[in-house]
């Protein structure tokens, strides 16, 4: 550990400055220093030996069954629109989004629906509300089961969308966003936030494409950037057009040399092709230090822009949007190909496998199918993780499907992870060594949070910022006492949310409301700024030449409804003003476009 930390300052601060002064390619855009972080052994090369394996292919046939949970994202469950026994074609809609905060689900291949109410085994025995979409699948999770017929047929009657979307630049942003929504895309980086909602954010100045895949073992995004850089860049361009961002930056970790080269040549190709998209600047490349967790959304935003959203704010509230490269590619495929999100690139790796590899796998493929393909040595398999060793979750049931958010399957042997036996030994007491605080990327004080969580002092825990913890696990990774710090925080967060919901503790409730009030105040301030920016933008557009853009103001931020009535009225009035402006703008823009054509 000492060696890891010693190279820190040099890696984080001195090297970027020197490289920038030396004008090394990729280092030209200034980057900011992320507090904390650790440098674990990357272990990514093992799965990058071969190219991405497609599915179905001669190497990797279709599994006999696909299990498609209705909720693979953050938001409401999708609603099945098929019945058992029905034949579905590839790309056919099988579960429709239940409102805006949900995503569609499509058949990854052709076959018969065998069940629409298959009860999926819980991934974790204990539901942990901290990050429910990632840490556990709810025990009551239902899934659609699709019996594949091996023909992989696309519905011949389905209108061919590729024709429709060949020239995506001519579509309005609303049409493009609707296409993304129809394709059922959610964030593929791990959180699974519905992408269409993110694309509806307004007053976005900077778009960041996240190619900083910082967790050990995971190489899916890196493989994607090596092999499909052009699609990623094009997808980034589409997203940039939809949100109207002036700047688009692709952030890649400095140690992914081949990926950087591929992306650089793709950007050069784009510039050479000189796409007729006016008003958009070039896509920039920013190299970031290979430190965990620089690939976290907030962390990457901070590194690249220096902006730090306040507690309770979304990045879009401060004019920044972040999408992973996998999402950008999914958007590209949805828009230009009409292919909904039915597959994703997943790393299948770990020392228990003979052939670690990256697979473009159909959503819903049982994990066992992939393990068999990669040659799993079940004797060496210590634990199967979905995700990396730092933020992933363990699965016991090998029939667990690959979800839209599963970026890695880690068949870990003893040399990869802590031995399972360690869980039966008690951990040592905290010796207050303070190794944890310097590595926290949110600048929390982990040991204080540990004591507060352990003694369930909810009020103090909230004051010390436990709700801002991103659960990256850096503190637990350096803890010499091997305290499962993140587990304590997660339990504490669950209790905080539970008590806030049930109102068990009135003092705590008051504090939680105060916290929410603060968040709401933040949101109000942001809305104010957003409106000002919008006003500015509208003025500039009214003067002339900007392309059509959809400045939709989203008033439904989750915390704003908690604010005082007066503030609410103010926002509503402001939003109404903005909406009126927007309508005016849209009609003007349409008139301009008609005139142009």
């Amino acid at each position: 550990m000492s060696r890891i930390k010693r190279s820190f300052f040099i890696k984080k601060v001195i090297k970027p400055i020197l490289f920038r002064l030396a004008r090394k390619p990729g280092w030209l855009s200034p980057i900011h220093v992320l507090p904390g972080g650790i440098v674990p052994a990357p272990n990514k090369q093992v799965s990058l030996q071969h190219k991405i394996v497609g599915m179905p292919s001669t190497q990797l046939p279709l599994p006999s069954e696909l299990i498609l949970p209705l909720k693979q994202h953050q938001g409401d469950d999708a609603v099945p629109v098929v019945r058992p026994g029905q034949y579905v074609y590839k790309r056919q809609l099988i579960a429709a989004a239940n409102g805006q905060r949900s995503v569609n689900l499509h058949a990854p291949t052709s076959g018969f629906i065998s069940a629409i109410d298959y009860q999926l085994a819980a991934v974790n025995t204990k539901p942990q509300p901290g990050r429910p979409w990632q840490q556990t699948i709810d025990p009551r999770q239902t899934a659609i089961v699709l019996k594949t017929d091996g023909k992989d047929l696309i519905d011949p009657d389905l209108p061919l969308k590729p024709l429709l979307f060949t020239h995506w630049q001519q579509r309005t942003t609303d049409q493009l966003r609707q296409a993304v929504f129809d394709a059922g895309i959610c964030g593929l980086g791990g959180a699974g936030f519905p992408t269409a909602i993110k694309l509806g954010a307004c007053a976005i100045k900077t778009l960041i494409i996240n190619g900083a895949e910082c967790e050990p073992y995971i190489s899916a995004d890196e493989a994607l950037m090596r092999e499909h850089a052009v699609e990623i860049i094009e997808g980034a361009r589409i997203i940039q057009t939809i949100v109207g961002a002036q700047v688009c930056v692709i952030g890649i970790e400095e140690d992914k040399l081949e990926a950087i080269e591929a992306i650089q040549s793709a950007i050069a190709g784009l510039e050479a092709a000189n796409h007729p998209v006016s008003g958009l600047s070039v896509i920039k490349l920013a190299l970031v230090p290979a430190i965990y967790p620089s690939g976290g959304e907030q962390q990457l935003i901070r590194i690249i822009t220096g902006i730090q959203p306040m507690s309770g704010q979304r990045p879009s509230d401060v004019g920044v949007l972040c999408h992973s490269v996998a999402t950008a590619r999914a958007v590209f495929k949805a828009i230009t190909d009409g292919e909904p999100l039915i597959s994703r690139v997943t790393t299948v790796t770990g020392s228990a496998l003979r052939n670690p590899v990256n697979v473009e796998v159909l959503i819903g493929t049982p994990v066992s199918h992939l393990l068999q393909f990669a040659g799993c040595d079940s004797a060496a398999l210590e634990r199967l993780l979905v995700g990396g060793p730092l933020m992933g979750y363990a699965v016991d049931d090998l029939e667990t499907p690959v979800l839209k958010t599963s970026n890695c399957l880690l068949a870990a042997s003893q040399q990869d992870i802590q031995s399972v036996d360690a869980s039966s030994v008690p951990h040592r007491d905290c010796i207050r060594c303070d190794f944890c605080a310097p590595v926290c990327p949110v600048k929390l004080q982990p040991q204080t949070l540990y004591f507060l969580s352990r003694h369930q002092r909810h009020d103090s825990a909230v004051q010390n910022g436990i709700l801002d913890c991103i659960e990256c696990g850096a503190c637990a990774a350096v803890c010499p006492s091997h305290i499962p710090l993140v587990a304590y925080y997660r339990d504490e967060k669950a209790l905080i949310h539970h008590e806030a919901d049930s109102g068990e503790s009135s003092t705590w409730r008051a504090l939680f409301e105060k916290h929410q009030q603060r968040q709401a105040d933040n949101v109000v301030a942001v809305q104010q700024r957003k409106l000002e920016k919008l006003q500015h933008k509208l003025d500039s557009i009214a003067e002339g030449d900007n392309p059509a853009k959809d400045p939709l103001v989203e008033s439904g931020s989750p915390t704003s409804h908690k604010s005082a009535e007066q503030i609410k009225r103010e926002i509503e009035a402001a939003v109404a003003r903005t909406r009126a402006r927007k309508a005016e703008l849209l009609s003007k823009a349409d008139a301009n476009k008609d005139g142009g054509q």
Binding site: P309, R383, H427, A437, K443, L444, G473, A476, V486
Partner: protein
Amino acid sequence: MTHNQHRISSPYIKPASTVSGVMATVLLALIPAAICYTWFFGIGFLINLAITSVLGLLIEALVMRARGRPVFFYIGDLSMLVTAMLLSFALPPGSPWWIAASGIFIASIFGKHVFGGLGHNVFNPAALAYVSLLVMFPIQMTGWYLPGTGSYAEAPIDPLSAHGIYTSLQLSFPFLREMALTPFSVVPDGFATATPLIEYKFAAPARILMAEAEGFSVWDRQARTGWEMLALSFAVGGLILIWQRVISWHIPVTVIGMVLLLSTLFYQPGQEAIVGSPWLHLFSTSTMIGAFFIATDPASSPSSATGKLIYGVLIGSVMYSIRIWGSYLDSVALAILLVNMCSPLIDEWTVRTHLGRSRVRKKSS
């Protein structure tokens, strides 16, 4: 919650370090000083170390058994050995065996386990034990009976020769003296056996002036240069700890910086006998072991970087004040104990402001 449960949860990665690894690093960092101490002052240190280590582990095992915890798991963290080693450095090498025994008892029981064990202690166990012994056994704790430094008239005896080792054994185990056929007569000599600083303060500057007038340099003899070499070896060990990231730089730098600053400010040429020179304050006393090894005890020091700076400044100034204006013999342990009491309050004052809590940062571009 009496037991620390391990829950199956992320992160699953192998942890980067262990408590025993950290403690072993501290022990390794103390080895240069241990060699130095033995070289200059004889095997009395090793005898003390053996007594404190064995007894300390025994007490630890009994306490863990009484508390219903897995004994070997908790002994395995090696923290008791670190305490034993630090305490042995603080004890006079020629002190009788029961001094070391009662010292480790106080350190283990009253310094650590009454508060709940490792990590929960308010005071540094070694410093607490040392100060308690100083109050309880002032004579034994301040008279440094050293082999080979009986008086100036005699030729210096090598403390590691057979004669020196025999003398050390007799000093540590007084009953040997009665059993021995040729009892070695120990001549306690205040000037020869106390730390230079204590001498400067209490033992008549006139004697030093006299010695200097006789052409005798204070730093010539083994037991004299020993103090400086020891301080340097502690500094080397401390730098190893900082390099290995076991301790942060904040506390040592502020403690040493504060002592240096104050001793320079109050330095009066010609008045060394009263206030001492900066060199004397830094290298002829226990400032180094205090700054690098005792004050940095993580459990009893504040956790934030700002807190550590405040803590170090306080220790440095209290240390110097006790030396110059107080009336206690050794100020380091006392200063650290006093400031240990403040560290929860310092922690309370210097809560880290985490990201997202402070104002929105302005864009720099």
